[in-house]
Structure formats: C-alpha cells, structure tokens
C-alpha cells in the first residue's frame, strides 16, 4: 500500500548508462509493468528500488519517505526497505524445506515461533501449497517453486512486491494460468507491485499501467490498451503486438489537394483525418498498420495496394500471410485463406481507422499528442 516515486534515476555500467533519467510515479496498489527488450534497464531499475544496487543519480521515495538519494549519498539498506522480491529463477534456498523458506524472512525479524507457524500455514494454504511444506525445493515442479517464491514474498506483508520475470521459467500453458492467478492475488492483496518482463503479451494482460523502456530510457507510460492503440513512437509500435506492426518507409506527396503516402511503387491516399501529415512534406515518414488490420481481396478497389503472397503460415486459429510489395515485406493476419494461395497477386486494404504515421527522424507518432 505504498506509492513509489522514482525521479531522474541514472545508473551507469562503465561508460554506458544502463538507466538514463527515468521518472516514474507508481500509484498505491497499482500493478505496474516495466517492459522492454533485454538490456533496456528494466531489471536495473527494479534492483535500484530494492536497494540492491546504488544509482549514480536520482531519488526513490516510498510514500513520504526517501529510501535512495544519490545526491545525499543516502541508501537505505535492502533489508530495511520491507519490500519483497520474486526472482526469475525463484531463488528458493535449496537447503531449506518449503516451510523454512517461507519462514525465513520472519525468522530474520525474530518473530515469535508460534506466530511464524500460523502465518506460514495460512499463506501456504492461500496459495494451495500447504501439503508441500515439508518438501525440499528439489522435489518441486516449476509451478510449485514459483508459488513457494510468491508465498515467501506475501508472508511478510511488505510495502511492495518487486517481481523480476517471475513467470518466464514456466512452460507456455502453465504461464497463462499463473498469470491469471497472479492477477487475482494482486487484486486480493492490493499491494503495490512492480513487475518486470520482456514479454509484451504478459505485460498487456497483467498491467494496470506499463512503462516501456529502451536503452535505459522510457519510451511510453500508459495503460495497455492505449499503448496498443496509440503507440507513442516507432519503437513502441514495433515492440508491441505479435506479429509486429508493419512499418513502411516512404514520404508525403500532395497532388491536387490530396495527400499521398508514397514509396517507389506504393501511392496510398492518406485518409482525411490524418491530413496533418502533409506538414511533414519532404520528410521521411513511416506508415504503420497492424497485421490484423489488413484485408486481402482479389478485386482492386480505391486505395488498395497490390502485393504478392510469399508464404502462408497457419498459427492455430489464424493464418499469417507474408506478402511482398517491391522490397517491403508485409504481414497480414486473416482467418480464412480459402481464396488465396502462394504467388497470388492480391490487393491489400488497410483499415483506415487503424493507420499510424510516424515521423521517421524523431520516431514520434504524429497523432500521439492530439489523440491522447
């Protein structure tokens, strides 16, 4: 039940900045996601919050209390911050039973033995691992370990949970259910949670809000739906969504009052609601369209684009169609493939409401500010 404020955080490794000027304000009881590719600084940020590493600049506040301040050279020790952490490899003490593992943080606090016993049992029960208390970690499955790690975190009633990819070692199927369990647990306990992941689907489905990091800097902080519908820049557009958004390089042309997005072969009429892009005339712009927002048609129509089908892949309930327009490769996702086969020339129809236009130089989504 803690508000966590990070201001101007900088952490250097050697010459390069692992984390660069990160500002985040995490609300009470929020499930906040730090999302990004490996090396983006998300785990470093988490470790700074835990007090396990010392940043070179910046401050971290838990509510009204400062816990890290590089300027004042003040770093509260990790053991005094009362945060609980769940690690990717679960970090279960291998020589202790499950009971001892869960009890460990309480024993450190010199809590009364009977009290410990009661707390460990009730926590284990709430996670459905009560019958495992006498086991050694070696005898547990991946999913059980994950729950032991959760139990050890929960039992302390900490100020905040810090989770570092806690689901990434589970197999795909288990992960879907563990995700749902985690979300319910968070709702029940209402403890502020900071959750690090590189998996965008996990981030989208779990988070109240998501911060997307890249090379130590924050690219966008928003709710999942907003990030999906209105990516702030090219990085976010390419990172969120699977298969990723198609991004086509081109430029703006105006002819007889109509604005066109053009490449060597494509001449695409820009819908009127995107007319501001004409201000980028002469500059390079990028058209973005998600695979699921493209329709394939045998018949040419106004503003359709000709493409050749290279490959058709079934991915379960949908087909991923890889298309070629001159050098550009475009992926479309469609449910029914009956009318199409490889090497067919087809017409692509973009859903005009789902278009994005990015300034290539700055990477900015031209419509982010106006639509936010």
């Amino acid at each position: 039940m803690t508000n966590i404020r990070i201001s101007n955080l900088v952490k250097k490794y050697g010459e390069s900045n692992a984390v660069n000027n990160v500002d985040i304000d995490i609300k009470n009881s929020e499930l906040f996601i730090l999302l990004g590719p490996s090396g983006c600084g998300k785990t470093t940020t988490l470790l700074c919050i835990a007090g396990l590493i010392k940043p070179e600049e910046g401050e971290i506040w838990f509510d009204e209390q400062i816990v890290t301040s590089a300027e004042k050279n003040y770093y509260e020790r990790p053991q005094d911050r009362n945060v609980a952490m769940v690690f990717q490899d679960y970090a279960i003490y291998p020589h202790m039973t499950v009971f001892k593992n869960i009890a460990f943080p309480l024993e450190i606090k010199n809590m009364d033995k009977k009290e410990i016993e009661k707390l460990v049992h009730s926590t284990a029960k709430s996670l459905g691992i009560e019958e495992l208390l006498d086991r050694k970690p070696k005898q547990l499955s991946g999913g059980q370990r994950q729950r032991v790690a959760l139990a050890r975190a929960i039992v302390r009633e900490p100020n905040a949970f810090l989770m570092d990819e806690p689901l990434s070692n589970l197999d795909a199927k288990l992960r879907i259910f563990a995700r749902a369990e985690l979300k319910k647990l968070h709702r029940r306990l209402g403890i502020t949670t900071i959750y690090v992941t590189h998996d965008q689907i996990e981030a989208m489905s779990l988070g109240d809000r998501i911060a997307i990091l890249n090379k130590g800097e924050i690219e966008q902080i928003d709710k999942p739906q907003t990030i999906f519908d209105l990516p702030k820049n090219l990085f976010v557009a390419g990172f969120i969504g699977s298969p990723p958004m198609n991004l086509i390089d081109g430029s703006v042309k105006e002819e007889n009052g109509t604005v066109y997005f053009t490449t060597k072969k494509i001449n695409y009429k820009v819908p009127s609601e995107f007319s501001i892009v004409k201000e980028l005339k002469g500059k390079e712009i990028v058209l973005g369209i998600r695979p699921e927002d493209i329709k394939l048609s045998k018949n040419e129509s106004d503003n359709s684009i000709k493409a050749t089908i290279e490959i058709i892949e079934l991915t379960g309930r949908e087909f991923e169609v890889h298309l070629k327009v001159e050098e550009e490769r475009i992926i479309a996702l469609i449910r029914n493939i009956e009318n199409f086969k490889i090497n067919d020339v087809v017409n692509l129809i973009f859903d005009e409401e789902k278009l994005h236009f990015f300034n290539k130089e700055t990477g900015e989504n031209t419509y982010y500010e106006s639509r936010k």
């Binding site: 835990a50 053991q79 911050r81 945060v83 970090a91 020589h95 943080p105 450190i108």
Partner: protein, 252 residues
Amino acid sequence: MILPLWSGIMSALKTQADLAQTLPFAPPTTLVFDGFIASYNELIGPLFNSILFTSIATILSCLLGSICGFVVAKLKFRGSNTVFLLLTIGIFLPYQSIIIPLFITIRNLGIYDSLWVMVLVHTIYGIPMTTLLFRSYYESIPESLFKAAKVDGAGIMTIYQRIILPLSPLPFVVAGVFQFTSIWNDYLFALTLTNINFEPASFALSNIAGSTETAWNNVMAGSFLYSLPVIIIFVLLGKYLMQGLMAGAVKG
C-alpha cells in the same frame, strides 16, 4: 601406482632375510610384524604430532578460505583483481624461495620447533588454495539467492551462516581432503621449521629410511603407517570427494 603400493605392503610383512631373497611383489614366506612393531615405536610420537597440526591447520585454512572465498566471490569490491593475483602467486610461489627468510623470522619469533609454527605456516600457506576453491564454488551459487536473502532482511553475517555455510559441505570435503593430504605430505617445512622437540611424521619417516640402512621391512611398514590416516580419510570421505570433484561447481 598400484604395484609399488602392493610390493610395499608385502615387503613390510617380511623378515629381513625373506626380503633379500624374494621379489618385492611376492607375498612373504613367513608373515612377521617385526617391521610394523619397530616402525610403530619410532613413528607413534611424530604421527600424533602430525595428526594434531594437520587437523588444526586443515580446519583453520578451510574455514578462513570459505570466508575469503565468499568475500571474493560475492562482495565484489575494488581491488578484487589484485586479491586474486596475490592468491594466484601465493599458490604457485616456490616454497624454497621463502623458506629461509621464513626460518629466520620464525626463530626470531621464538616459536621454532613447536605445534604452533606448523599450524601457523600451513594455515597461511593453505589459504590461497582454499580461497580459490571456495570462490569457484560460491561463484556457481546463483546471484539471486544472495539478493533474495538481502531483501528478506538478512545481513552479510546472517547470509554467510544461514545460506552459504549450509550449502558448502562438498567444497569443505574437497578443500579439506586436499589440505589434509598436502599438509600431511609436506616435507620441506617439516625439515626446516621443526627439530626433535616437535617432529612431524614425514620427517621421522625419512629418518627411518636414512638411519637403518637396509632394514627395508621397517621402512615399508613405516610408509604404510604413515599413509594410514590419508587412506582412512579417503575411505570415509571418498564418495563426497568424488561428488565434489565431479560436480560442476567445484573443480580440479
């Protein structure tokens, strides 16, 4: 390796006359324990001395090595590379190059020819090797375990006692056996730093070999008695030693 050992034991059980007539690896024609009795009388005192200082020095150098290994592996600090360099030099430095100045220093300290000089020298000389062994094992313990313990509220001392030490039986066996045998086998420190007052077994054994010129049966029996503690340790700890050596964690 097996053959000399075998013929050694055979020789130890022969009389002097028998020894001169048969091949070294043939069994004795009459079984006698003269050799064992003679060498036992000469070796019992030195053997006791050796067991004493070897055990103490082994335990001390392992404990200190475990602590140093933990510090080097997990509490990264500036200059840890320098520490590592010093450790490496400490392992490979020839005894002989320091033994004489060491001898002078020990004399001046007035602990020449005593239990304590052997414990002191072997403990110090053993620390680099044990540190390196424990370090390589501790490096293989996942970092997240330390982080988790810290976040769970434990300080450095608690982490060492409650997490590190309970995870260390295998490296303790490997380092312990290694230290025990190399301290036990040491001849040069024994030669230089002790005399009749506190005579170690390795030195006493070479005296038997030197003094009773051709009494090979005594020498063989002495060698066998001398090897006995190491053999006992092997029989007791061999299984764990092999586990430790084969484990990914602690090597060579």
